[in-house]
Symmetry: C2
Subunit: 425 residues, 2 copies
Amino acid sequence: MPRIGLPMKVAVISIGDELMYGETVDSNFTVIAGRLYDAGLPVAVHLTVGDDREEIARALVYLAREHEVIIATGGLGPTSDDLTAAAAAEASGCPLQLSGAALEHIRQVAGRWGAEVPPANEKQALVPAGATLIDNPDGTACGFIVPLGRCRSIFLPGVPREMARMLSASVLPLLAPMAGGKTYLTKVFMVFGPSEAELETLLASLDSADSGVSVAYCVAFPGIQVKLRAFGESEPPVVSRLESAARLVRDILGDRIVAEDGESLDTVIAGLLRSRGETLSLAESCTGGLLAERITDLAGCSAYFLEGVVSYANAAKERLLGVSPLLLAERGAVSADVAIAMAEGSRRSSGSDHALAVTGIAGPDGGTPEKPVGTVFIAVADRDGCTATRHQFTGDRHAIRSMTTFTALNLLRLRLMKGKTERHP
Amino acid sequence: MPRIGLPMKVAVISIGDELMYGETVDSNFTVIAGRLYDAGLPVAVHLTVGDDREEIARALVYLAREHEVIIATGGLGPTSDDLTAAAAAEASGCPLQLSGAALEHIRQVAGRWGAEVPPANEKQALVPAGATLIDNPDGTACGFIVPLGRCRSIFLPGVPREMARMLSASVLPLLAPMAGGKTYLTKVFMVFGPSEAELETLLASLDSADSGVSVAYCVAFPGIQVKLRAFGESEPPVVSRLESAARLVRDILGDRIVAEDGESLDTVIAGLLRSRGETLSLAESCTGGLLAERITDLAGCSAYFLEGVVSYANAAKERLLGVSPLLLAERGAVSADVAIAMAEGSRRSSGSDHALAVTGIAGPDGGTPEKPVGTVFIAVADRDGCTATRHQFTGDRHAIRSMTTFTALNLLRLRLMKGKTERHP
């Protein structure tokens, strides 16, 4: 499998006690790594350190020796545990100085909030002497660039929104010329059904050294991402290698591919509903709003989403969805018949073209020998009728709810795709 | 501010191209760091590297020099891009050998899934010669321990569920005796309202070196976590220092404290509803199921949660919540009057004690000069009446929906607490 070369050695440092104490997930590194990779500047190494001036300075000095660029995030806030600027000063030998421009920036941002500048924020105007400032349109902490020998070290705040905007607006344009015109391309398939080992067996023909395309698998619960990566000096052959590998994957995996690249299960469903000009309604029990939340997460969903009902109590299933009390008593709320009655009730009362309904036992309580925790019934209704399927999921409440949501949306996707094929054979 | 000492130097390595390419957030490090910290073994440094045998080996050799323990996760899977065992062999000088016990484990786990062992999985039985195996009850990849000079390096799979269970069951008991009996305690407050700088000013009296308690602030959008940390040789004085600092924080911040320690806004609301024996119903527009999802995320919520309606279309607001078409036409769906009608309609039809309703414009489209994107009305209804508040949130669709959800649940919390105080003065 070809390894991707490193045209410029970029190191990333994440700074914060909240990271070292396991209190916050480091989403900043993920954002930085992804955007740099897309820009042809993959990260060589990543280091996490706490809010300790000496440790930060030591990490900077160590990484500056072997890398051309360091991007550091975190520890630029107004509070006393924010020590990154002081560490940058120590590592670079440039003492902290009050920057008039940074102070003016702080006053402007604080003024926008209609507030006086708290004394604590003025500390954010102290940067190593000679540093170049990086604008932060969304917050008081300016970023800055300090040379560490031949390495440029770039400091950004740790607030994810601020960091991400500064990275795109200021840092990537600065680094782009250093990518050396190489082409890095990735093609991602989200797959649902086969295990990682089964996928490797299915796609074995793809993973040969001479294809010039590497294949990687990444569990993205409850699916698996299959990633094809190609790299080269000039763009056309890289594109063509990647495209023929992608065609092979599509032939082998068929509709087990849920989505490709920027798409997700949710956006694929949205696209199918939009292209058909059809509407959707939802009836949820154990997923408790997760289905509706996923559908409404996309802007413009009001074009196809009418309504959802979270019918936790049986009374809600009766009143809001017209499920018969007799059916609930005879079959139980967790049954194929009730799932069908929920989907048909939702479709009938909302006037939607498609209805998706879910009823099950997410646990940890409520299981019986016949219907243990993880038993879920999913029903999909459209003008051609309604079908329900029984599923047995494992794991904790969170896993069962996630699996149910993904499986239900995938069943809706398959139904929408089937309709599509039938009408345009 | 006192720094917390390091009784044993622990380094963590996260391994995976998906991390270096920004495709996956490294939640494993967060879990490892948190559990080690709680065990009195804070992580000294964390390194992330890609699926590259040489790079992994180099990182192991480098960290083994200065640390007593290395915990590495990732790259133990069955596929060809999983190279961690080979790197461990290289770094330790112990060649890979087929472990009979690991192979037997793989056969047992695969047999549980009712499957033949795919040839790819047998690769997972290759571990460095002399390695100690760590049981993985949930997957085919055993973990293992290899000595690197005086450093013990511990290898765990990257699948989060498997890693977390092995860490608790096997790794922490192994390392616990090395913590040296020191006491590390943390007290966390989730605060909503004041900015980070305002909090630092409000709590300035707390952050003095002689209190023996350090204060840290961590943005946990849309709230801020205030963390008190204390450390010492014997437990009673550490507990007492932390408790008096916590009392001071409670006095200063009052009901701006949303939750403490293991609690969250959601569990606090659940506790208030449970203790009052009262029920809740929801009516959502722009949050599209997020409120219901948060409420139903907690096991046992059926004791107090009756139903939720995601009334996206106006027809749904009319039919499911009894909002008058005239009101919708005159005031618009995004208005205080409609929010109140939604809450009262939800309470009336479900028979709940409390109803929470939300209507707003999450964007990016749908804004007007009078009601720009981010305009949200939140109504809380109970037997004493219904009040609606207008809010103007900023940011993208995701941020507006999150802010709305948090603010609405917080208004419910304050209403429930007020009722509590009034009844038990």
